[in-house]
């Protein structure tokens, strides 16, 4: 048996980073399922005059702004780690986390806005199913954000222990990838709901 070296996989694309990419693929499939169902329902609803068109809550747009800002801070944290500017990393990740929490609050107010207009998750009239879809899609994204906040919290703890630096970028790379995914996903979902 030979005892030569093993594997020439590039370090920067570690198995753990690959895992988060595959998770993103799975999540994307879930949202594609929701969006396909939305399309099918919308087609039927419009034909039968049973599809309520309504304006999305303005808070959802504010959320989109927040998520863009949070992604900028996330990227700054990543670059700080890459430069070995390790004392900046915890604070930048914390700002990202705060932005994430602000996003959640904004979403919550968005749902309150919907309810104030009489658009509830459960629907008494067939046309209200469009509101149910908005709740489902935004709530599924919200659940993903909660996962991202947990990830960021762990990242802040690690960064505070100086475990995130130029030579140990795997975790912050995972955080960055996932957080940017969530941001892009929300913007795409919002545009989908707006234009669909």
């Amino acid at each position: 048996m030979s005892t030569s070296t093993v594997n020439n996989t590039p370090k920067e694309f570690s198995p753990k980073t690959f895992i988060i990419w595959l998770f993103i693929v799975a999540s994307t499939m879930l949202f594609l399922a929701f969006c396909s169902a939305y399309f099918v329902h919308q087609g039927d609803g419009v034909r039968n005059n049973a599809w309520l068109k309504f304006d999305l809550p303005f808070e959802f747009w504010i959320s989109a702004g927040i998520v863009i800002v949070s992604s900028i801070f996330m990227q700054m944290a990543y670059r700080a780690a890459l430069r070995d500017d390790i004392y900046k990393v915890p604070s930048l990740l914390t700002v990202t986390l705060i932005c994430g929490i602000a996003f959640c609050i904004s979403q919550y107010y968005g749902w309150l806005n919907l309810m104030d207009r009489g658009l509830f998750f459960s629907n008494k009239e067939p046309a209200e199913i469009s509101a149910s879809f908005v709740y489902v899609i935004s709530a599924a994204h919200f659940a993903h954000i909660i996962g991202g906040l947990v990830l960021l919290t762990v990242g802040i703890i690690r960064a505070s222990r100086l475990q995130i630096h130029k030579k140990n970028m795997v975790f912050i790379n995972i955080c960055k990838t996932y957080w940017h995914f969530l941001g892009i996903l929300w913007i795409l979902l919002l545009l989908f709901l707006y234009f669909a």
Binding site: S2, M29, L30, A37
Partner: protein, 635 residues
């Protein structure tokens, strides 16, 4: 222990190897283990238990079908109030059919098969110390276990388990009062399936990453054993399709419990009146469900086909015929499986144009499937066959794959499917091509890799007997169902004696049930052989089947980290059997050899001889070949 030559990718796993002298506690070793080999045993044994339960359920409803007007005291003893006066309650009959299907499709042939062999073989055959994330792997098993417990707990519910079929179509599944099983039983079914999806995704992500990122040196993709190709593609299918089922399940939960109308519209419930739900579409559920449901067929089948490829090549002592064609076939089947789901829905009022599209893409699947079948047969042809129990089961799979696959061509045809849909023809088709074929692949894998899992051999005589009894009974059970289906006998019916038109099939139903009982009894042989061999089987040698793949280079005694020293380097493909230039009829992938052979095309030396001895010009050879063709010249 020398592991310092490994790169960063393996650092974590090498830590296991360095610390192997620390004996883990009982809980860490046998319960919450992160070792892929132990997790594979956990999947297998849980899968076997679930399989036995699923099979017992099928025997119970087969008894009902064979003797619908008889009373059996033991049924009342076994099922209590669900079999008053010795006769199974109609709602409970539906529950048995539903949970039998769910268990067999998801818990045995998805988790039991893929979970067991992906876990066991991926790290061992690609040359990795463990999975990419052993912790996620452990979670995958425990989510599966929890899911199994939740599903089975529905038998303790007053209104019984879910009863709307393993596909849980709304509105039956979406209305809590539609039938007894639509209540808490269906809620538990949905919770169980969501836990199952989490388990499948955790496992699948791990399998993909391990195969693509953690292969040992020399293990290029074209040297991967076909088992690994199959497990990889299975995991990709699961990754892309299970989230869609999750979406479908969530909508169903919202309709059931949160007052939405994603699937519900214009419903009148007897005793309750008209419901307020409107605007929903139950057909949308079918689209979402079958977007998983059809890839699920291949999630079940591909691992079995991969296992069969390895077992047949090893036991025919020949390279698998057409390795590249086998890989391309697997890829084609995987891709096509995503665009054929509509063939389950031909009778839903689908636009005929759309139905035609689904029909054509469905029929195209016959091409890669036929390639695989021919390659299996060509591998067997003139092989030096060793009829081990694993080999028998692998050949049995090929048989079922052919006989069940042929009827798929009938059902894929929209015009015929309209007639055959929801009849026993469908039951016969999928039990042969998916059920029996996949379970035979699983048995083949168990018999073949038992020595690797437990360090002991299973009894070969009992294994062969198990094969013949199971093989015969499977055909006796499912073959007659084709004729019942052609005659229009519908599936899922509780009591055919109430319908005089189907009276002529009663004797066939009795025959099928007796055959099913025989098949069930044959599994006792397997259970005895399996559990006895774990403790008292003949000790295994390191490479009992004289196989080429590198899992057989690990010690018989398991190590967390798999290899005591460095991971072996791979020098060739997995099927270098019976090379004329070698004394032994196998050539392990990791054995240093005399240069790189040409894969699957015969020994390099022979080709070289032809090339170097040929002094004639190419044009002369070309023209003289016509002379040879018309026998103007002697060879």
């Amino acid at each position: 222990m020398s592991t310092e030559t490994l790169t960063a990718t393996h650092t974590h796993h090498d830590e296991h190897a360095h610390h192997e002298h620390h004996e883990p506690s009982f809980i860490r070793k046998y319960v919450f283990s992160t070792d892929h080999k132990m997790i594979s045993k956990q999947f297998l044994i849980t899968g076997i238990i679930m399989g036995c339960l699923g099979m017992l359920m099928s025997l119970l409803f087969r008894i009902q079908l064979a003797w619908p007007d008889e009373s059996f005291g033991f049924l009342e003893t076994l099922l209590g109030r669900w079999a008053k006066d010795g006769k199974i309650d109609p709602n409970y009959y539906m529950a048995l059919v539903t949970i039998h299907g769910t268990i067999m499709v998801f818990y045995v042939l998805t988790a039991g098969l893929s979970g067991t062999f992906s876990n066991l073989l991926i790290p061992l055959q690609v040359g990795a110390r463990d999975m990419a994330s052993p912790f996620m792997n452990m979670l995958s098993y425990w989510f599966f276990f929890l899911s199994s417990v939740v599903l089975l707990s529905s038998f303790a519910v007053e209104t019984g388990p879910a009863s709307s079929g393993w596909t849980v179509y709304p509105p039956l599944s979406a209305l809590q009062k539609a039938m007894p099983g639509s209540g808490l039983g269906t809620t538990l079914w949905l919770v169980a399936i969501i836990l199952f999806i989490v388990s499948a995704l955790l496992g699948g992500i791990n399998y993909i990453v391990t195969v693509l990122n953690m292969r040992t040196k020399g293990m290029s993709m074209n040297r991967l054993p076909l088992t690994i190709w199959a497990f990889l593609l299975t995991a990709v299918l699961g990754l892309l399709s299970f989230p869609v089922l999750l979406g479908a399940g969530l909508f169903l939960i919202f309709d059931r419990s949160f007052g939405t109308s994603f699937y519900l519209s214009d419903i009148y419930l007897n005793g309750i009146g008209a419901l307020t739900n409107s605007g929903g579409s139950p057909i949308m559920y079918q689209h979402l469900f079958w977007f998983l449901g059809h890839p699920e067929v291949y999630i079940i089948l591909l691992p079995a086909l991969g296992i069969t490829s390895e077992v047949i090549a090893t036991n025919a002592r020949k390279p698998i015929f057409g390795y590249s064609a086998m890989v391309i076939s697997l890829l084609s089947i995987a891709v096509l499986s995503f665009i054929v789901w509509g063939h389950h829905m031909f009778i839903t009022g689908m636009n005929p144009f759309l139905g035609t599209v689904f029909m054509y893409v469905t029929l195209i699947i016959a091409v890669p499937s036929a390639v695989k079948t021919f390659n299996y047969l060509a591998t067997l042809w003139k092989g030096n066959i060793r009829f081990t129990p694993a080999m028998l089961f692998a050949i049995g799979l090929v048989s079922f794959f052919i006989s069940g696959g042929l009827t798929g061509i009938y059902l894929g045809n929209a015009a015929l499917d309209v007639q055959l849909h929801d009849s026993y023809f469908v039951v016969a088709h999928f039990h042969l091509v998916m059920g029996s074929a996949a379970i035979f692949g699983m048995f083949s894998g168990i018999y073949h890799w038992f020595p690797k899992m437990f360090g002991r051999m299973m009894n070969s005589t009992l294994g062969s007997l198990h094969f013949w009894l199971t093989f015969a009974s499977a055909y006796m059970v499912f073959f007659p169902m084709h004729f019942m289906g052609l005659a229009g006998v519908p599936r899922r019916y509780y009591q055919f004696s109430l319908i005089p038109e189907f009276g002529i099939w009663m004797n066939v139903n009795i025959f099928i049930t007796v055959a099913a009982i025989l098949g069930g009894a044959a599994q006792i042989l397997f259970l005895y052989n399996f559990f006895r061999s774990i403790f008292k089987g003949k000790p295994a040698t390191q490479n009992p089947w004289e196989s080429n793949t590198i899992e057989w280079s690990t010690p018989v005694k398991h190590l967390h980290g798999n290899w005591p020293g460095a991971i072996p380097t791979v020098y060739r493909g997995p099927h270098e059997y019976s090379r004329p230039d070698r004394e032994l009829d196998y050539f392990p992938q990791h054995e240093v050899g005399n240069g790189e052979p040409v894969h699957y095309e015969g020994p390099a030396e022979v080709q070289k001889t032809y090339a170097t001895d040929n002094k004639e010009s190419a044009s002369k050879v070309f023209f003289s070949s016509f002379a040879h063709l018309f026998m103007l010249r002697k060879a």
